[in-house]
Subunit: 439 residues, 2 copies
Amino acid sequence: LAQDDNRMLEGLLPELRSADIAAILSDIAEEDEDQPTVFALLESLSLERRANVFGYLSSDLQAELAELMPDDRLLLLLEEMSGDERADLFNVLGEDRREGLLRRMAHREREDLKRLASYEEGTAGAVMTSDYVAIPSDLTVSQALMRVRQTAPDAETVYQIYMIDEQGRLAGTMSLRQLIVARPGAKVEDLMIKDVIQLGVDAPQEEVARLVAHYDLLAVPVVDEEEHLVGIVTHDDAMDVVEAEATEDIHKGASVGQLEGGVSRVRLWSLYRKRIVWLVLLVFGNLFSGAGIAYFENTIAAQVALVFFLPLLIGSGGNAGAQAATLTVRGMATGDIGVKDWGKLMGRELLVAGALGLTMALAVAPIGIIRGGEMLALVVATSMISIVLFGSLLGMCLPFLLDRLGWDPATASAPLVTTMIDACGVVIYFTIATAILMG
Amino acid sequence: LAQDDNRMLEGLLPELRSADIAAILSDIAEEDEDQPTVFALLESLSLERRANVFGYLSSDLQAELAELMPDDRLLLLLEEMSGDERADLFNVLGEDRREGLLRRMAHREREDLKRLASYEEGTAGAVMTSDYVAIPSDLTVSQALMRVRQTAPDAETVYQIYMIDEQGRLAGTMSLRQLIVARPGAKVEDLMIKDVIQLGVDAPQEEVARLVAHYDLLAVPVVDEEEHLVGIVTHDDAMDVVEAEATEDIHKGASVGQLEGGVSRVRLWSLYRKRIVWLVLLVFGNLFSGAGIAYFENTIAAQVALVFFLPLLIGSGGNAGAQAATLTVRGMATGDIGVKDWGKLMGRELLVAGALGLTMALAVAPIGIIRGGEMLALVVATSMISIVLFGSLLGMCLPFLLDRLGWDPATASAPLVTTMIDACGVVIYFTIATAILMG
């Protein structure tokens, strides 16, 4: 960017919202690959603003910018960031850098950061923040409100307040709404909800998001093995999890592995690796289709017209199967379908797939008559019903089977289902053809 | 259910959370299809609880239960429900019933309900609630806090407060957090944020969700054409939108139309209709593959071994194309990719798909040698690179093209992309085969 543009941007940025500043900086970093300019623009902001903006950047860009930053600037930034974002930034730094920074921190901060950064990615511990409001339960309402006012500047949210006992164990919760309408002299412990919806630090992040969505929560508290309150996950972080999980499931549905970062930004090598694995595995799946065709070479040689209908039949089975698999996988992910629903869904799929197969058989039968007469039409129609029915039932059952084996049901991707049905469809089609035409 | 079970449940329900009661009642309605029992259990709850639980039920079940309810009970329930849920329930009732109920309501309530119920589904107006806290901007902080306390019981959220001028136009906003730490005598208009993030009533619900997620908002205000504040969308409703939109996109990715309700509950006839449309359309797409094969019948008859590799080649192209299409569609849905990124993505896809094609060509070449010698291997390897490259670029471009034509990019489903690539792959493969083997 030209020097003038820079100066103009510097003047403009402080007027914008942090999320928008982050979007602009990401654009500059991506389009112009001009990280030094991004760094200079960031440094032109106030420390508080800089910390806010930094939290919105992708971890790749965070890592690149941290490289440009001397240790003392980075320490200042880390101290200003909220607990969860601080841990995320810390985790993208190199081992040596981390050690050096930790040595320069105060004991309490160091322990807090080490703890937050230690939780495995994808768990409640990794998405939670330690900036919550916790008070002893023997305070009065007015004392509690005073505490909330004092901690407001540092807390991620002040709208859900947690009560802890002397050992730091979670004892109850109250919303700020309840607190401001309560009688000032009342005891918090008489008003608080004691049966708190909570999660362990190791709970998967999908479960965090599902709890927040199911109960319409503002935040959900996270406890360790001894029931000590160690953090909270707020609604906005839960929303990010819902989005990220949906993206992961959608990518899996097309046999793409989990990408770290958006598709327009992720490294090419990483994109290649996440795509090639399944593509090569599926090549070997497709070999079975080829083997099936080779096995029926005599039937094909006698009736070359059969090949005309091959893509149509196995393609239709694959499409119906991909539909069934996708409906099941998404139903399981949103909690709409449980393992116990298997039998009921099987019955429903049998009816729907039967109707689908019949409709499509009627659609292709005339083409069969035109290209090869009534017997060929009979073969094609019978094969269509059989393959669509078989494909749909396979697509519906596969996610349950994978779940049973301890795999992610989302592994039942459209390409996997299609490939399996292709191979089986070849066998079904030519078996029926051999029986009717060569019998 | 047995009489005893019922009585046990009646005793148990009031102890549970509303979301859980709704889940239990939905289960009973679904498994036992015993709506009268569900109705009786609901009636055993307090009115406040009943209204809460009702809001969590699916619209199908709400409609069935409303049928069992006399007008006066239904009126009581409607009055107790929050604005947005009241409008949703109202919309599932029959025309006659709606007219009858409206006639028995107070004027103000009637107008409010008619207005909320009139917004088109999928817009900000349809997901917003009218139970927000709005105050004149000339109040002091302590006066404002008093107002918040008074409206707390009825408001959907009290954590974001909106300031309106005499004409009811949105003038500013403050969070309750800012309000409780502010000096009690300060004027609200000096503290409020005047540049409010807001939406029009007709904005699509995806945009509402994207704003809430992007800015980490608790709620976003909705205004009409004259800038009057008419409602707010809260974070929990925005989260529901994110989930619903993801489900819709995932279903579209497998060529399934938009379902109203979960896959385990939706009517079979509706499930059939949402699946058959694309399946039949794709049959005709597959006819092109058949026509391609018929056109090359001479090549095939001369070299039957070619058919062995057909599913493998067109399958691989389809899989790579489905990956590329899915990555693009999701990137566009999350805002990661914009139309301007087309050229850059094209370059990236060219590199990645080239590498993918090359890897897979190397994987299948040995099989070509085994089954038909070096010339066949050359044909298969060349076709693999060409088809994977072609398929990936098509898959990447199709969503952009659809978007350009004013269609939803998510229409570029795995089945559609696979079918298109199948047809083109047949032509590419046999053209290369004819040139090399018969030339």
